[in-house]
Amino acid sequence: MCFVLAWAGPFLWMVSTSFKLPSQVMTRDIEWIPRTFTLQNYVAVLKYPIATWALNSIIAATIATGLCIAASALAGYALARLRFPGRKLIFMIFLASLMIPPEIGVVPLLIGMIRMDWASTYQGLILPTVANVLGVYIFRQFFLTFPRELEEAAIVDGAGPLRIFWSIALPLARSPAIAATVIVFTLNWNNFLWPLLITFDEDMKTLPVGIAAFAPVVGTHTQMEGYAVAMAAVTLLCIPSVALFLLLQRYFIAGLSAGGLKG
């Protein structure tokens, strides 16, 4: 249990440092409880365009996740319940794509975006992150075990696939929908490489990319501000994903262990 507690150490240290006076951060002894509690580091963080970055992150992660879940629910339902030639093959291709590192495509994608003048735009930031195969996988697994009696009655009534999907299948798919949403949202919220590449303007950066400039080797913010402000910035950054995880832990773990897939 000691080791488990040690695992939380870096987080506690982060929060503790964020409330310290910058002059009391570098101390010979480790002080877990700040001698003086202060909010001045959080105020200092607000000097940077952190609200803009946060807004960008919220817009990008929310739209990308929404589109991904809508598309995944439709595709996952079709691949599990509708009969048409090639559906097994299509699913195999989706799964096989997980083997290929997206980095091979990142450079051409970036050039394409620059040529279309989509660099530093929301569509450039969002669209490449929409097709997350994990979503399709979770929905397909769920709809495969869906009791078919529910659909039969609707078919007898002459309802088409879209009606059945919308009014019967989807309302019952709450738990896969939540699982897929929290996982995909977290991945989008934390996404680093693509937002780093596609955003040239300070005003279009997302939170992880903007705050990364507080690192001593990358940017210039910390050299001026020190660890206390940097820790305040990352504490703000991890609040949404950690809160989401603590609230919906069950769905997170169920969704991830279902496929043993990530990203």
Binding site: W7, L79, P102, V106, I111, V136, F214, Q249, S257, G260
Partner: protein, 306 residues
């Protein structure tokens, strides 16, 4: 495996049921909702990237076909070679770290009831935060003079170790942060696997006088071998593609000692504007990941049959 059978059964029944009438053309429309962005933004760039790897493309101008020149250059590039060695070292440190620690924690949490929920939360939380958080927190924890880790190591007369500022240590420093970040997923998968091991096997073994350690080697390990293999595979793939921690924590330094392959790809593409070369390097990385993954599968299978 029971799950697969269930799935297969459900699949056939669904087919039999819907299939009475005709082909559901709507299916294609439903799939297209996902397949269109998938093809445009995931598949097409990868295919184009493979092509670009055979050209001398810079952002300006048209790509000219230069055959295998980029690949030849990569194999002679000392930076790229060092980065390649580095990702193998990262894999050698991070993969066993995640598997051994993740499995030990899972065994511990699986046994002791009262605080196992809390332990699970603590161990998994690092997994849900971004690389920026990991990077900045660990730069501070690994600080040579005032860092948490060196302080406590000092109690044992160790250090101070220049974790991120010395070429000998930077790769190890980044690996420690990566293990902390990645452990959660492996841990959760191990825990799920442990709960499927039949409990009566342990009872029988303890009646036969086998101790805790013996039981783990005789019963637990053989039962969860598929999960171990899966965690090792996933971890190799993600560790060999390490980038954001490196970017935030050390920027590849000092002197390239912690640079990963994707980090050099990023530099070739963005800083040095050599797109063809960068694409060729990413294809090489993919082939290396594939080779290591297949090799690891083979080795684990051999060990199991030995």
């Amino acid at each position: 495996m029971a799950n697969d059978e269930q799935t297969a059964a459900a699949e056939t029944s669904a087919v039999a049921f819907v299939g009475r009438s005709k082909i559901d053309w709507t299916g294609y429309a439903f799939v297209a909702a996902f397949a269109v962005p998938f093809l445009l933004f995931n598949v097409a760039p990868v295919l184009f990237g493979i092509y670009v790897g055979f050209t001398d493309w810079a952002i300006i101008g048209e790509p000219n076909w230069i055959g295998l020149d980029n690949y030849r250059e990569a194999l002679h590039d000392t930076w790229f070679k060092q980065a390649f060695v580095n990702v193998l070292l990262y894999a050698l440190l991070v993969v066993p770290g995640v598997v051994v620690l993740g499995l030990s924690f899972a065994l511990f949490v699986n046994r002791s009831w009262p605080l196992s929920g809390l332990a699970r939360t603590i161990l998994f939380t690092p997994n849900v935060v971004s690389a920026t958080v990991i990077g900045l927190v660990w730069v501070w924890v690994l600080d040579t003079q005032f860092g948490l880790l060196n302080h406590y190591l000092g109690w044992f007369g160790i250090g101070p170790i220049p974790w991120l500022t010395s070429a000998n240590w930077s790769l190890i420093g980044v690996s420690i942060a990566s293990i902390w970040w990645d452990l959660g997923l492996g841990f959760v998968l191990f825990l799920a696997a442990l709960q499927d091991v039949p409990k009566d096997l342990y009872e029988a073994a303890s009646i036969d006088g086998a101790g805790f350690i013996r039981q783990q080697f005789a019963i637990t390990l053989p039962h969860i071998r598929p999960t171990i293999s899966m965690v090792v595979t996933l971890q190799i793939i993600s560790t060999m593609r390490i980038f954001s921690q490196v970017y935030v924590m050390t920027n590849g330094g000092p002197a390239g000692s912690s640079a990963s392959v994707i980090f050099t790809i990023y530099q070739s593409a963005i800083v040095r504007n050599m797109l063809g070369y960068a694409s060729a390097c990413s294809v090489l990385l993919f082939l290396a990941v594939l080779a290591v993954t297949l090799l690891q599968r083979l080795v684990l299978r051999e060990v199991a049959h030995a």
